[in-house]
Amino acid sequence: MEHKTKLYERIYVAVILAFFYLPILYVVLFSFNESKSLSRFTGFSLQWYEKMFADRMIMSAIGYTVLCAVIATIVSTIVGTITAIGLSKSNRILRETITQVNNLPMLNPDIVTAIGFMLFFTSLKIKTGFVTMVLAHIAFCIPYVILSVMPKLRTLDPNLAEAAMDLGCTPMQALWKVIIPQIRPGIVSGALVAFTMSFDDFVISLFTTGPGVSNISIYVYGAVKRVNPTINALSAIIVYVITIVLILMNVVPMIRERKGKKNEKAVTL
């Protein structure tokens, strides 16, 4: 399929990328605006950043978002991995049933899953707040962890654990020393998916949280009703962090690969 990209194709791609990046650049630019205006750039200032860091609500929203994502990731990764290992040894009917049930939150629109949680918590007279939000996050993250661990288990040689136990391992040791290391890439990517899903979530958090507990999304949702350039600063900071993380994630392996190649060359010389 590979060929030289023609000029009109380059222009097309450039237009699409401009469409993707224009609003992001716009927000970053206006986060440095001196005035409150969102349409006229009057001069450079860092006041919105100062205001943002001084804003208690924003700081607590960031705190809740990170804390919730960390707890949801840890719990859903552990539970999801344990369940996936169990499922790989279970009969077909149980496996199919669990897969179908897990499909519910993945295929349903977020808002349906969200109101389900809300009705469930309030019917049980559980006060909504941080705990209910974390529980809901754990619930919608586990299916994604299972989904990314299962394929690794399918390609795993079933005799490996058997052999480990024949050589004197207890089932726990076989699990910890043989199975887990083999499926580690699946566990890591599952954890990453869980973290981003939780960190970015808006709809499910909105319906499962209680008064006084907002994550970043809920804060933005409530704050945009009036002109509020501190959101520009908050958005810009999110953009910086994500850009740095993604560049590091993509550049570090590239550098490592190059170094590896150099070392190889050194060896052959």
């Binding site: 990046y21 389900g116 958005s235």
Partner: protein, 261 residues
């Protein structure tokens, strides 16, 4: 070895409580009388009757479906050529392009939609057009990535073979590349259509509160007016329509695969 299968048991309980029960709750609420405890289950069909009695609700439902259809169509129309151009680039450039498309997706959806608000202040667009821009902006990356994945899996030898057998570029595209990339289009459709139907903050942010979609109705009945029974009925109607359209999509995809085989 068999003992490992016991490791599923805790999750069976969890999945029943945290996934199945909440869904049952929606159904229960949708079929019960307002203000009545669900535990004393007072069956009614009135919530559904109310939805279809008033013209406003079917109108909003129709508007949401239409909007999701058009959004999905535009995402294919704009996204397919993009993915196609990507798939023809040098491998290194392909990786860069995919990274560039993925990067905005990592930024919070609300922040991304909020960003459009200021930018759209410069152009004179109707409320509906603004909402379309927001929808396409948020969902097109999914479409591009799905189509790109299926295009990049196509064996290049198939294209060489097609040319060797006398097909020109257009014929090769129509008879080889397009059918083989359809699975990507299908999964792209599910990734765009689903969130587009139920979206409620995109119309709220960009439509200035005047543009109401089915998701906004559900949000209002749950958060503002507190009529959970009617809200549940609306959600149930939406969920059923989505289920039916997904089923039809899968069926079409299967038939397409059978033809290919």
């Amino acid at each position: 070895m068999k003992s490992f299968s016991k490791m599923v048991y805790p999750y069976i309980v969890w999945a029943f409580v945290m996934i199945v029960l909440p869904m049952v709750m929606i159904v229960l609420y949708a079929f019960t009388v307002k203000g009545n405890s669900v535990l004393t289950f007072q069956f009614t069909l009135d919530n559904f009757a109310r939805f279809f009695r008033d013209t406003i609700f079917p109108t909003v439902l129709w508007r949401s479906l239409k909007m999701a259809f058009i959004t999905t169509g535009l995402c294919i129309l704009i996204g397919y050529p993009t993915a196609y151009i990507f798939a023809k680039m040098k491998p290194n450039n392909q990786a860069i392009m995919i990274l560039l498309v993925t990067l905005p997706m990592w930024i919070n959806v609300l922040v991304r939609t909020y960003a459009w608000r200021g930018l759209l202040g410069y152009v004179d667009l109707s409320t509906e057009m603004r909402v379309y821009v927001g929808m396409i902006y948020n969902f097109m990356p999914f479409m591009i990535l799905e189509i790109y994945t299926s295009l990049s899996k196509i064996d290049p030898n198939l294209i060489v073979a097609s040319h060797d057998l006398g097909a020109n570029d257009a014929e090769t595209f129509r008879r080889v590349i397009l059918p083989l990339s359809l699975p990507g289009v299908v999964s792209g459709i599910t990734l765009v259509f689903l969130p587009a139907v139920s979206s409620f903050f995109i119309p709220k942010f960009l439509g200035g509160g005047q543009y109401v979609l089915i998701g906004n109705l559900i949000e209002d009945y749950f958060i503002t007016s507190g009529d959970w029974n009617f809200g549940s009925a609306i959600s149930l109607i939406m969920a059923i329509i989505i289920l039916i359209s997904m089923y039809v999509m899968r069926k079409l995809d299967h038939e397409n695969k059978e033809v290919l085989d």
